[in-house]
Subunit: 314 residues, 6 copies
Amino acid sequence: MDHPTPRSSFRSPRFAQPPTFMRLPHREDLTGVDVAIVGVPYDGGTSYRVGSRHGPREIRSQSSLIRTYSYFQKVAPFDRLTVVDAGDLDVPPVGSIEQAYAAIEAGIARILAAGATPMAVGGDHSISLPILRAVTRAHGPVGLVQFDSHIDTWPEYFGGKYFHGSPFYWAVEEGLVDPARFVQVGIRGPGYGDDDFDFHRRRGMTVVLIDQVKAEGVDRTIEAVRRVLDGPTYVSFDIDAVDPAFAPGTGTPEVGGLTSHEAQRLVRGLGGLPIVGCDLVEVSPQYDGPGQITALLAANLLFEMLCVIARGRG
Amino acid sequence: MDHPTPRSSFRSPRFAQPPTFMRLPHREDLTGVDVAIVGVPYDGGTSYRVGSRHGPREIRSQSSLIRTYSYFQKVAPFDRLTVVDAGDLDVPPVGSIEQAYAAIEAGIARILAAGATPMAVGGDHSISLPILRAVTRAHGPVGLVQFDSHIDTWPEYFGGKYFHGSPFYWAVEEGLVDPARFVQVGIRGPGYGDDDFDFHRRRGMTVVLIDQVKAEGVDRTIEAVRRVLDGPTYVSFDIDAVDPAFAPGTGTPEVGGLTSHEAQRLVRGLGGLPIVGCDLVEVSPQYDGPGQITALLAANLLFEMLCVIARGRG
Amino acid sequence: MDHPTPRSSFRSPRFAQPPTFMRLPHREDLTGVDVAIVGVPYDGGTSYRVGSRHGPREIRSQSSLIRTYSYFQKVAPFDRLTVVDAGDLDVPPVGSIEQAYAAIEAGIARILAAGATPMAVGGDHSISLPILRAVTRAHGPVGLVQFDSHIDTWPEYFGGKYFHGSPFYWAVEEGLVDPARFVQVGIRGPGYGDDDFDFHRRRGMTVVLIDQVKAEGVDRTIEAVRRVLDGPTYVSFDIDAVDPAFAPGTGTPEVGGLTSHEAQRLVRGLGGLPIVGCDLVEVSPQYDGPGQITALLAANLLFEMLCVIARGRG
Amino acid sequence: MDHPTPRSSFRSPRFAQPPTFMRLPHREDLTGVDVAIVGVPYDGGTSYRVGSRHGPREIRSQSSLIRTYSYFQKVAPFDRLTVVDAGDLDVPPVGSIEQAYAAIEAGIARILAAGATPMAVGGDHSISLPILRAVTRAHGPVGLVQFDSHIDTWPEYFGGKYFHGSPFYWAVEEGLVDPARFVQVGIRGPGYGDDDFDFHRRRGMTVVLIDQVKAEGVDRTIEAVRRVLDGPTYVSFDIDAVDPAFAPGTGTPEVGGLTSHEAQRLVRGLGGLPIVGCDLVEVSPQYDGPGQITALLAANLLFEMLCVIARGRG
Amino acid sequence: MDHPTPRSSFRSPRFAQPPTFMRLPHREDLTGVDVAIVGVPYDGGTSYRVGSRHGPREIRSQSSLIRTYSYFQKVAPFDRLTVVDAGDLDVPPVGSIEQAYAAIEAGIARILAAGATPMAVGGDHSISLPILRAVTRAHGPVGLVQFDSHIDTWPEYFGGKYFHGSPFYWAVEEGLVDPARFVQVGIRGPGYGDDDFDFHRRRGMTVVLIDQVKAEGVDRTIEAVRRVLDGPTYVSFDIDAVDPAFAPGTGTPEVGGLTSHEAQRLVRGLGGLPIVGCDLVEVSPQYDGPGQITALLAANLLFEMLCVIARGRG
Amino acid sequence: MDHPTPRSSFRSPRFAQPPTFMRLPHREDLTGVDVAIVGVPYDGGTSYRVGSRHGPREIRSQSSLIRTYSYFQKVAPFDRLTVVDAGDLDVPPVGSIEQAYAAIEAGIARILAAGATPMAVGGDHSISLPILRAVTRAHGPVGLVQFDSHIDTWPEYFGGKYFHGSPFYWAVEEGLVDPARFVQVGIRGPGYGDDDFDFHRRRGMTVVLIDQVKAEGVDRTIEAVRRVLDGPTYVSFDIDAVDPAFAPGTGTPEVGGLTSHEAQRLVRGLGGLPIVGCDLVEVSPQYDGPGQITALLAANLLFEMLCVIARGRG
């Protein structure tokens, strides 16, 4: 297979052509692909403001501004890696969440089977569980860094096991994630009590509250995160880790969060880790303004993650 | 129970107080209530743009402009009827649609058991099926007028029976609606083929396409509708029957639809019929502009329907 | 004084320069002026959604699209008339409405004293009363055509006499308007009872409900209106006479109203009448969408009115 | 080549996948294609509010709702015709308009050379001129129906010949359009004088003002249009022919226009004519609301046009 | 009276039910209530962009996301305190500001008479004066911390004493606030001259400019604030203390302000003080984007304040 | 000539009157003027989202909040300087960019010839080149500080020399700017490679990347900037130097940028330098939210710059 690269903005204007992730070709055949950026437009696990099913399309649109080189990571990811827009997984939007999970797991498994690393674009946070199921089947239990304002380790909701607040409870319970290598960053918001963290204590997970990030700074937070991570690592970025000023387009926003610059630097800080998959979730374009700055930030964080993966492949 | 009436706008400004439907009291006890306006904030049956779970709240807000008398129906519904805001049904937003259906049917049954007529505010159109199940259990098979741009008689979607495109297929199949007394008004939009109407022909349902409404006018359309209706009647109003210029805040808009004035007059034309229940569905405030004219129209159509019910109770 | 004309769009782009009404010069000296378009940015009489204080500025912006000739009235108003943007009246935004009324009346009186016809751009409908006070002092009691969805003849609100729902009660009571030459067009909306019109019946005013306009058409409505009007006439156009689809940017919208084309044709139908003043009120840009179609319609209706005045000056 | 059809919404949700026109495949190879829907994202000819360069992408998104059969034209265009999304022409967004014209003409010529009929999606109205140059080179002078609120027959602007107000002056002057077979429908708006139509009179073109459409109705307007058209015909639809209530997302809106239903029926009325090309222009998504009803209407009008072409190919 | 708590989001979805502050019951009977959250939807004191009359409703809606425990203040306020949504004060929206002040003072006095602490949700900043009058009558002169970008100590406006720029001038002049215990935090914006602070110097008030906060950090700012405060304290939070990026939905925004995290931490820093009342003002939802992040921030700051009150009650 | 000052907001409400920059008089005669604020509404050099042609009008509107004294620079610029709104340059919006450049250069030259310092309000960044041509003809080669996220030193685009990404390449090549006195601040964003900076290295320009600003702080950044600047200095502020959270209304936003407070302090840090001209560019109101915080920030940065100029004039 040829080596696809983003369409040049000096030959085709950035606003032109059907939008794909980072102006890459849309390819369903993944032979020879290193990284497959894939949309998972499912929001059936959402407990509050819904709409992240429209996240992949808007992130595609805004990713038209992404270029090819990071001044800060000093890497040109499309040179080192073969990257494509693998389209969206056709997840049933209606019916039971279990059906959706089956479709997601199968779709990610297909990407992994082709030898590609999946970079999943949600959709709500419930999608992380079936993705982790597929990733773990290929790689064994993973380390996990979750950027988020919420812990998402509730065991149930309205009598069911699965919704966007429970994926990491089940990921730990199912043995997909090694809790000793699991760190959550940016947690905040009013909660329900100090026992919200009982699960974390019992299983030995690490939590970095937002006040710790703000007080100690990004560099020391990165150190804390990297102390936990080891071996094959999955990255899950819930856009609501970022403050609503920088990321208003999301369903369950929490004030007092990361700035966009802090978010970029935290992702960059993962450089060199062996990333086996990642997701970016909870972008709901309906709640953004006309500038669509949330989808733009999401596209940039995906680019930073791509650079991290490229550095890890040295 | 006292006779509740809308809070007076000459003593409490229209923009003040927690919003309830038509500034009526929010009451969970339905003893002595004639009409219960109840929110059904469920959009788990939505195949395209989601968000009608937020319909009831926005319609409550916009209904603050509703007053107490219709110049055109010449009736003061709150004088004749005891009407309350019965709150929302607590439908699980996540999980299977069957669970949601059970909760909706039970909630409506509770209203009917109290002797009240349910006026349901969606939510997406999938809610009509469990409402009809409850209504029919109380009243037997009903006549039905459906204002809509879509037929919503598809039998399945992604392997399941229920979504917002199938409620009336199953309502007929389950014997909830008498197809001879079932009329759809405003149908249009690109479809899939002339066989879209095979079900209608086979079951003897009546369809009034939008071009027929536009060509013959509202008065003759009302005549055509009333020729079909007879006996206990349910009214289902999908806001996308109206043109997107007048009702942009909806998930599956179809251009070339009713004007707001036509919609008002069509509803008024039902005056005198024995209405046993009704719904207004598919208002998605995220897709409306800052004026929220869709929710305002919805509030007005609910008021017109209330007048129709009042006239039917003479 | 020279004869000012709109800045040419072939020499200065329409989007350029500080916006003035119809790209006319902003002049405070009214010597020799025939028509003074003047902003009255006061919304202290508003009972619901506020914000029409920002109407004049947005209407100025959108009026940049207005050109110089009407294909339908066949008149070039800026040739026949000397027209300027007279700026805004500096009405106190805070304090009592009586203070605001004094400032408005004085400002309009100054325009009339210069021999110019005032074309007032609101602001909410409460401004019509002090304008009529000034106009009547110059011209005696006037005939009045009010395009509106509301009657605005309530005598009081929260213990005071003046708000945007009362100007025409007081205009009649103060003898400013001759009720026999007073006609309201487009009235609708849920009201409070049939006795809403007791005042009209008692004083001999004419009401044309929206259903009459829709049933009989514009031409016959114009005939009905002109049968009433006679002698010096004032025109008050509340933008909420128009349906919210065409005019969402207003504070008290009522569905089921005029189309923009009907509104234009109704104004054109006044051609030849001796207009002594007019206003266009209740444009609230915050409730419009990004296209600002309400302010654009307002600008067009002002242009039509200008053509009507020009024809009346033959 | 296989026969491409829109992606099925029962296997892939409508909101999923990179958006293409009507969910058709994006193909650059046009062998065997009957109709090529092609974006022309150029707005360098715009004199007022700019932004139609973003039209093709938004119309692609909204066209996800288009299905495969017209109830009113009774045709399934994707069965009869091989239709693809041909991507966008890569027109230089900056530089001189002459450069842009060269790129557009070449791109359309390439489509025609492949034997396909071009359906161009603008972009501003200036693109019609280079498209007509290419079409005429293939088919000779064409008949033309232009739906528009503006005449667009000005000969110059700021010292240059080309902008979105001049394409049809030059199309006539260059002999691309036969003025005897050229009809403009929907013209209105304040203009500059009765001599705006001197060019039309001199060259024998036909103008149908909006008041004529409204007074006589759609059927008689279609008759008038078809009396003029004869032989190979080009259709140019400026979305501002439609009223801003139905199409707010445009750069030079004119109030008092067509309804969406009138627009649909006018296009349908062209059925059977030998269409050699068409365009739909001036959709500017920035000026639309969150429901993007303008792009949705545009997608529907393109579908109606496709049905017209299919009927013409019998 | 029972002990009301927020409706559980595991039994009733967060988006469901008529919105009340923090999903608490709406109660007019305040017997046994510790804290009454009350809307004061009055914006008649606004000198620029108006609309904060709609603040209470939108803050109610967005407060649906508030949960029950603060990770950072380590307190569960609804356990310690009996808190209700006391509805809105029915302040006349039209007429003189003195009438409005009388209604506000009476309403707050009623809350205080029931033994509850008022937490007022504006409305514009002019409401602080009548609230302070009522609070002071119950508690004597208070200490006051005002988070704001503006000093709001102008003595008059357009010939009147009261508007949203004067409440603290009159609060000091009337002896409601002890100037030695009065501190303003976050002041900035272009002003009128160094003599803007003459009043502060003369009366011995403390001002912390924004540059001081940014240079010294939140912890040292809290120290400076607490050095001033002593005894019964009132907290007034004008949302425009926060930067427009985090709080765009306000009428008189000033760039260069607090971040949301700084605002949260500043409020938390008041823990332990004897709070006798508080307000949060100037949220104007019309100027926010679709995510309504300003109202969300306001709801969070109210929650932080509630935690502060709970800690003060030990 | 008299000494014009901003219209007093205590005599004329801030929202009233046709908007001009900082409520200054609009004057075309520049005799005796020290600083001319002039709109340059040209966006024909824009490669992505277009619309900055509407920047000057919106910045005028939002500048109504600007007052007369800086608490932080301790200067009252309208006392020291004679400042006016000089209107907009009538730049042809259509045609070649060379024509636009000629119009801009001539317009700025006229201002300089009158002895006034031009403060240009764009428009896109392409306008800086013709402004610098005019400024340099008057003052010789200048030092330049460019606040920006992009370097804007590309030599060509789609075969032409001029667009909003090339002005500073040509400014250096044409000898307008002394590269040794040229510093760019805030640079970031994905780029194309490390050789993006080859031009800077070859010509000896200084680049301060955003990470340097964030790591070292504003004070040390100012020191670095001032070390470079010397002699007559031009300031170019591209609003996209600021993070999209604070400035969403722009065409090519880059996440991870300056806060509004950092931007203000950086501009203030230029105090005392001999400023010979400045521009603020790339504000596109269509991409801002209803609060228009980008235009508000722009107005504030212009005010800070005015204070800087005033301080430089002692």
